[in-house]
């Protein structure tokens, strides 16, 4: 059994050092650590702290390698790690510190049929830790429901997608390479596709990785908002292909009822419908849908892409609003 630890980093050499230290201090150590540097690409061998850290990795018998990334996003780096020939890949962010039992704990759950295992990934701040309440990490709850990996407890749960840091079987799935350098939702798509291939995804929230969420640097530190929009559109397309209709009703009450007329047709098209609604009461008692807040749905459809009015203006619409919804979503 071989294990690779993969860290993608960008201009966070201080927290990266802590992340690497936490890898070195694992009770079960990976065979190799690979760091993909998408940032300044410093020669860390010249830095006194890093000199010792690399020596420590040698002492711990963890092979290490620093690769200068091509700055196209962490999904490219993860994809390389994914196909480096290791049985398991443990991905860790450059501002995350895993408790010493994390890798051993993740491995314990990695039985036949399990594709990936994650633990709790939480900020060291009670304000950002959530109570275990109703989080199931179903893909239908991706818009707005809190993530089970944001909780600390003693629960083991089978889930449909994973977040941030987790251990997975190498080479069983590919990352989505069409994402922008931000690689927004890359781990959601990657892990859910493992699930869709028939593997189980497990979360054990007693295995804690502390997430510093540093404000400076970071592999997603791009300011171009269109990158997030692009990635959301890639994700939306995936959701549709997986059979999930994603609807955002940023419109009036009457329009919500008008939309109801096309729901039967949408249910034929998709196995499940996720609806962001301003008036969720309209959908009371209707089965086969998941309701989300309109605010959470705004990330999926920015810039009025969810507005039936904008759609009607763009299409110089002259007939019924129900048909406009039909044109938008069917």
């Amino acid at each position: 059994m071989s294990i690779l630890c993969s860290i993608s980093t960008k201009d966070r050499y201080d927290s990266l050092l802590l992340a690497v230290q936490s890898v070195a201090m694992q009770t079960v150590r990976p065979d190799k650590l690979v760091i993909f540097d998408d940032g300044e690409c410093k020669d860390l061998r010249q830095d006194s702290n890093w000199i010792h850290m690399f020596k420590l990795l040698d002492i711990k018998k963890i092979k290490w390698e620093v690769r200068f990334g091509n700055k196209t996003g962490q999904h490219h780096n993860h994809q390389i790690a994914n196909h480096m020939g290791f049985d398991f890949v443990w991905r860790l962010d450059d501002d995350e510190i895993a408790e010493p039992n994390v890798l051993s704990g993740l491995l314990k759950h990695m039985k036949d049929g399990v594709g990936a295992v994650g633990g709790a990934v939480v900020m060291p701040d009670p304000q950002f830790q959530f109570p275990e309440q109703g989080q199931l990490n179903k893909i239908t709850g991706i818009y707005g429901e809190p993530n089970f990996q944001w909780t600390i407890g003693k629960k083991v749960l089978e889930v449909e997608h994973l977040y941030s840091s987790f251990l997975y079987r190498g080479g069983i799935n590919d990352y989505t390479m069409e994402l922008s350098p931000v690689a927004h939702r890359e781990e959601t798509m990657f892990s859910h596709e493992i699930y869709r291939k028939g593997f189980k995804l497990i979360v054990d929230n007693s295995l804690i990785t502390w997430h510093f969420r540093q404000t400076k640097g970071g592999i997603r530190s791009h300011t171009d908002g269109t990158m997030y929009e692009w990635d959301e559109s890639v994700f939306l397309k995936k959701m549709n292909n997986w059979g999930y209709g994603v609807i955002s009703l940023d419109c009036g009450l009457g329009d919500h009822f008008a939309f109801l007329n096309i729901l039967p047709e949408l249910k034929k098209k998709y196995k499940h419908i996720i609806i962001g609604a301003c008036y969720p009461d309209v959908f009371e008692g209707i089965e086969g849908i998941t309701l989300a807040t309109i605010a959470s749905m705004k990330t999926a459809m920015p810039n009025g892409k969810d507005s039936v009015y904008k759609w009607m203006i763009d299409h110089n619409w002259k007939t019924n609003v129900v048909d406009a919804f039909r044109g938008m979503y069917l």
């Binding site: 009036g252 009450l253 009457g254 329009d255 919500h256 009822f257 008008a258 109801l260 007329n261 009461d281 309209v282 009371e284 009015y309 904008k310 009607m312 203006i313 619409w317 002259k318 007939t319 019924n320 609003v321 129900v322």
Partner: protein
């Protein structure tokens, strides 16, 4: 005796201006209807105020659906009620003024529009940007004739 459900008002506007979809002749129309012996139930928000004795304020959608199934027809301005009624197959009379019934109406209803010349140019603009114009509505007698002829 025919039983009618009315939904007289469209939404409040954020700039506190009068909603251009709101019919200005409800009081006269309701007098005419009551003189003809119709039984009227009003729905709406509590703070909109009662126009008739039977005012059901702040109902749930479930309660409104039940009411719709109990009455013979509804009369409404261009608000949520015709859209809700359409999902139930319930017919009624809708008083339009500046919004286009071809877009916001349903063919099974009697959609009363005084004149297309009053339709606002930008049909999908915010209502706050549209002025109230009492001239754009039909007289209550016109509505009464449609109610009488309603089958």
């Amino acid at each position: 005796m025919k039983r009618i459900l009315i939904s007289p008002y469209s939404q409040y506007l954020r700039n506190d201006k009068r909603n251009p979809k709101n019919y200005p002749h409800w009081a006269e129309l309701l007098n005419l209807l009551q003189d003809e012996g119709y039984s009227i139930t009003q729905i709406g928000l509590f703070n909109e105020g009662a126009l008739v004795r039977d005012f059901r304020a702040d109902l749930t959608f479930k309660e409104i659906k039940r009411l719709l199934n109990e009455v013979d027809l509804f009369i409404s301005v261009d608000t949520f009620l015709p859209h809700l009624a359409h999902t139930l197959g319930k017919r009624g009379i809708v008083i339009f003024a500046v919004s286009d019934p071809n877009i916001f109406g349903y063919s099974e209803n009697i959609n009363i529009l005084k004149d297309r010349k009053y339709l606002r140019e930008k049909q999908f603009d915010y209502w706050e940007n549209c002025e109230f114009n009492p001239e754009s509505f039909v007289e209550p007698e016109v509505v009464l004739e449609h109610v009488k002829a309603f089958r």
